[in-house]
C-alpha cells in the first residue's frame, strides 16, 4: 500500500518546500529591485517611496533563504508525499470548473452574468459528483440563484454582474 501511494504521489513535501522557498526568494528579490528603482534612500524631504518595502524585501529574502537551507539540510522526514494523485484529482475537479465558472461570469465574448453562471456551476457539481436527477438539480440550482437574486439585487441593492438573460427579463 505504501509503495503504491509513493508511486502516485505528486511531488514530495521536500520538492514543494524547495519550490515555494525559491518563489519566495524570487519575490523578495523583485521587491528589493522595485524599491531600489523607486529609491530606497533618504531624500531631502524624508524617506523615499521604496524605503520601507526595501527592508521588507530583504527580510523576505533572508527568511526564504533560511527556509531553503533548513529544507536542504533535512533528511528523509520530508520525503513523504505532498499530495496523492487521487487527492489532486478531487482538487482539480473543484478548481477547473471554478475557473471556468469565473470565466463564464464575465469575459470579452459571452458574459453570462453571475446568476446564470452560478446555476450552471451548481448543476454541474450535483450531476458530476452525485448524479442527482435533473428535476432535483433544477430545483436546487434555480432556487438558490433566485434566493441570491432577491437578496443582493433587491434587499441589499448591490448590483452583481448580469448577462443576456437578465437583460431579457428587464433587469439591469
Amino acid at each position: 500500500m505504501d509503495a503504491q501511494n509513493q508511486e502516485r504521489a505528486v511531488g514530495s513535501v521536500r520538492a514543494w518546500e524547495i519550490a515555494v522557498g525559491a518563489i519566495f526568494l524570487a519575490f523578495g528579490a523583485l521587491v528589493v529591485w522595485d524599491s531600489q528603482r523607486l529609491g530606497a534612500k533618504w531624500a531631502s524631504d524624508g524617506p523615499q517611496a521604496g524605503y520601507f518595502p526595501f527592508y521588507i524585501g530583504c527580510f523576505i529574502m533572508i527568511a526564504s533563504a533560511a527556509n531553503l537551507i533548513q529544507v536542504l539540510m533535512s533528511g528523509a522526514a520530508l520525503r513523504k508525499a505532498f499530495v496523492e494523485w487521487g487527492q489532486l484529482r478531487m482538487i482539480l475537479v473543484v478548481m477547473v470548473p471554478s475557473a471556468i465558472y469565473v470565466f463564464l461570469i464575465a469575459n470579452p465574448w459571452l458574459s453570462l452574468g453571475i446568476y446564470v453562471a452560478s446555476a450552471i456551476f451548481i448543476a454541474f457539481f450535483m450531476r458530476y459528483l452525485a448524479k442527482y436527477s435533473w428535476p432535483k438539480i433544477m430545483a436546487v440550482s434555480l432556487g438558490t440563484m433566485l434566493a441570491f437574486f432577491v437578496m443582493f439585487e433587491i434587499w441589499f441593492s448591490t448590483p452583481l454582474p448580469k448577462g443576456p438573460l437578465e437583460t431579457l427579463l428587464g433587469f439591469n
Partner: protein
C-alpha cells in the same frame, strides 16, 4: 465608575429593535458559517463586510454594522463546537482541541452533555473576556492617548514579534509569510509620494491587494480544497438536547470552576497578546490535563476536557477585540477583518475612538454581552437544526459555498479581477497550509501594512533616520525591548533551561 455609566449608554444604543434583530441574524448566520466547512469567522465576516457599506453610511449605521459582524464572529465561535462534538470535524481551527474529549463523549451517547458543556463554557469564557474589555480597554485607551508614531510602531512590532516568538511552527516561515503580507500591502499607489510601487504596468494593481480578497481566498477557497482532499463523509451522532440534559450538565459544571478560571485567564492573555484562539485552546487543554485529578482519563470523553478548550477559545476570541479597539492592533485574523471594516467605514481605530465615538465603542461592548447571551440561548435550542446543515450532501454545499465566496469577492470593489485573484489566493492558501506556512500573520500584515509603514516613516522623519528613536524614552523603549524579548523567546527560554541545567535530565 465611569465605565458603568458608559456601558449603560452603550446598552441604550444596542437595545434598539433594529440592532437586536441584527444581533440575532448575526448569531444565526455565524453559527451556520461556523458549522460549514470552508466558511469560518474570518472569511464569513469578510464576505459580508461589503454588504454593510451602505448600512454604515447612515447615522448610527456603523454601530449596527459592527454589531452584525461581531455577532457573526461570536456565532462562528459557538458553531465550531457543534461539528467537533457530533462529527469529529472541527468546523474551526480553535475547536480542534474540543474534538479530543467532545467526540468520545458523543460516541458514548453523551453528545447532549458535551454540547451543553461546550456552549456554557464558551459563554463563561466570553463573559470573563467582555468584563475585561469593559474595564480594561478605557484604561488602555487613555494610556495610549500619549502614544506618538514611534510608540505605535513599537506596538506593531510587538504584535508581529509575538507571532514569531509564540508560534509553534518554524519561525522563518512565520516571518516569510508575514513579510509577504507587508509586501502585498505596499503594492499600489504610495500615499505619501504618489509613486507607483510594484505595479509593473498592470492597471489592476493600482489599487493594491485588498485584504478582504486575500481572506476570502486563503481561508475560504483554501479550506474547501483541504476539506475535499480528505474526502468528505459526515457520520455523526444525532443531536438532541432536552432541558433535562442541559440542567443535569449545568449541575455538573460548577465542579470545574478551577479549570474554567484558568482557561479564561489563558484565553484572555492569548487574545490580547496576539496568539489567537487556536493556541489558547490547545494550551488550556494541556494545562487542564496536567492539573486535573482526572487528567489520565482525558481523551476518553471527559466533560472537563471540553470545558477547558472551549472556555479558552471563546475568551481569546473575545479579548482579541481589546487591542483592536484601543490600539488598532487586532489579536486574531477575524479581529483584523473587523478592524479593516472600521477603516472602510471611515473610523480610525485606536485610542481616539473612545473619545470621538463613544456611542460606537460602548454600543459594541454592550452588544458583546447581549450577543453572547442570545448566542447561548440560540445554540442550546437549535442544535438539531444546525447539525442538519451538515447532512446536506457535499455535492450541493461545496458549489454553493464557492458561489458565495465569488459573490463576496466581487462585491468588495465590483471587480472581476478580484474574483480571479480570490482563486489564486485559494490555491496559495492550500499550498501554504500543507507546508505549514501560517496564514494569520500574512492577513494581519496585509491589514496593518500601511499603518505600520506610516508610523515607521513618521518616526524616521522625527529622528532623521535614526533607529534609536525606538529606544528614545522609557515608554517606547520598554515596548520595543518587550517586542525583542518575545521575538527571541524560543531562544531565550532554551537558554534559561540550560542555565537551570534541565537539559541534562530530559532531552527531547
Amino acid at each position: 465608575m465611569q465605565e458603568i455609566q458608559s456601558l449603560i449608554g452603550g446598552f441604550a444604543v444596542a437595545l434598539s429593535w433594529f440592532n437586536l434583530m441584527l444581533m440575532l441574524a448575526g448569531i444565526i448566520l455565524g453559527v451556520i458559517i461556523g458549522v460549514l466547512p470552508g466558511l469560518g469567522g474570518a472569511n464569513g465576516v469578510a464576505i459580508l463586510l461589503p454588504l454593510t457599506f451602505t448600512m454604515a453610511q447612515q447615522p448610527g449605521g456603523a454601530t449596527s454594522a459592527i454589531i452584525l459582524l461581531s455577532c457573526i464572529y461570536w456565532g462562528a465561535l459557538f458553531g465550531g463546537a457543534i461539528t467537533s462534538i457530533l462529527f469529529n470535524i472541527p468546523g474551526e481551527p480553535w475547536s480542534v482541541a474540543t474534538t479530543f474529549d467532545g467526540y468520545p463523549l458523543g460516541q458514548k451517547g453523551r453528545a447532549g452533555a458535551a454540547l451543553t458543556a461546550a456552549f456554557t463554557s464558551s459563554f463563561v469564557g466570553a463573559l470573563v473576556a467582555v468584563l475585561l474589555v469593559t474595564f480594561l480597554s478605557p484604561v488602555v485607551a487613555r494610556f495610549a492617548l500619549r502614544f506618538g508614531p514611534p510608540e505605535f510602531f513599537s506596538v506593531y512590532l510587538l504584535t508581529f514579534c509575538a507571532f514569531v516568538g509564540m508560534s509553534k511552527g518554524a519561525p522563518w516561515k512565520t516571518i516569510a509569510s508575514m513579510m509577504l503580507g507587508f509586501a502585498l500591502a505596499a503594492v499600489g499607489i504610495d500615499t505619501v509620494t504618489g509613486q507607483l510601487r510594484m505595479t509593473f504596468g498592470f492597471t489592476e494593481l493600482l489599487k493594491g491587494f485588498d485584504f478582504l480578497i486575500a481572506v476570502i481566498g486563503l481561508f475560504g477557497i483554501g479550506e474547501i480544497l483541504l476539506t475535499i482532499e480528505e474526502g468528505l463523509e459526515f457520520k455523526g451522532a444525532h443531536a438532541r438536547l432536552d432541558m433535562r440534559v442541559v440542567l443535569d450538565t449545568w449541575k455538573e459544571l460548577p465542579k470545574y470552576w478551577k479549570t474554567s478560571l484558568r482557561s479564561s485567564a489563558v484565553g484572555c492573555m492569548m487574545g490580547i497578546v496576539p496568539g489567537g484562539a487556536t493556541p489558547a485552546s490547545f494550551m488550556s487543554y494541556g494545562l487542564a490535563k496536567k492539573m486535573s485529578p482526572d487528567g489520565e482519563k482525558f481523551g476518553t470523553g471527559m466533560v472537563e476536557g471540553v470545558v477547558a478548550p472551549e472556555t479558552a477559545a471563546h475568551a481569546a476570541g473575545t479579548s482579541a477585540l481589546l487591542p483592536m479597539l484601543t490600539l488598532g492592533v487586532p489579536g486574531s485574523p477575524t479581529a483584523a477583518v473587523l478592524l479593516g471594516g472600521l477603516m472602510i467605514w471611515g473610523l480610525q481605530p485606536g485610542p481616539l475612538l473612545f473619545v470621538e465615538k463613544p456611542d460606537f465603542v460602548w454600543g459594541l461592548i454592550a452588544s458583546m454581552y447581549l450577543g453572547n447571551i442570545a448566542g447561548l440561548i440560540i445554540v442550546l435550542t437549535c442544535v438539531p437544526l444546525f447539525a442538519a446543515i451538515l447532512r446536506v450532501p457535499f455535492a450541493i454545499i461545496a458549489p454553493v459555498i464557492l458561489v458565495i465566496c465569488a459573490i463576496g469577492a466581487y462585491t468588495v470593489h465590483s471587480s472581476m479581477f478580484d474574483v480571479w485573484l480570490m482563486l489564486v489566493f485559494g490555491v496559495m492558501g492550500y499550498i501554504f497550509k500543507k507546508l505549514d506556512y501560517p496564514l494569520a500573520p500574512l492577513v494581519l500584515a496585509l491589514v496593518l501594512g500601511d499603518r505600520a509603514e506610516d508610523s515607521f516613516r513618521q518616526s524616521m522623519l522625527m529622528s532623521q533616520g535614526e533607529v534609536s528613536i525606538f529606544f528614545a524614552n522609557s515608554l517606547v523603549g520598554t515596548i520595543t525591548v518587550l517586542a525583542l524579548i518575545l521575538l527571541f523567546w524560543p531562544v531565550l527560554s532554551r537558554g534559561i533551561d540550560l542555565l537551570r541545567g534541565r537539559t541534562s535530565s530530559g532531552k527531547e
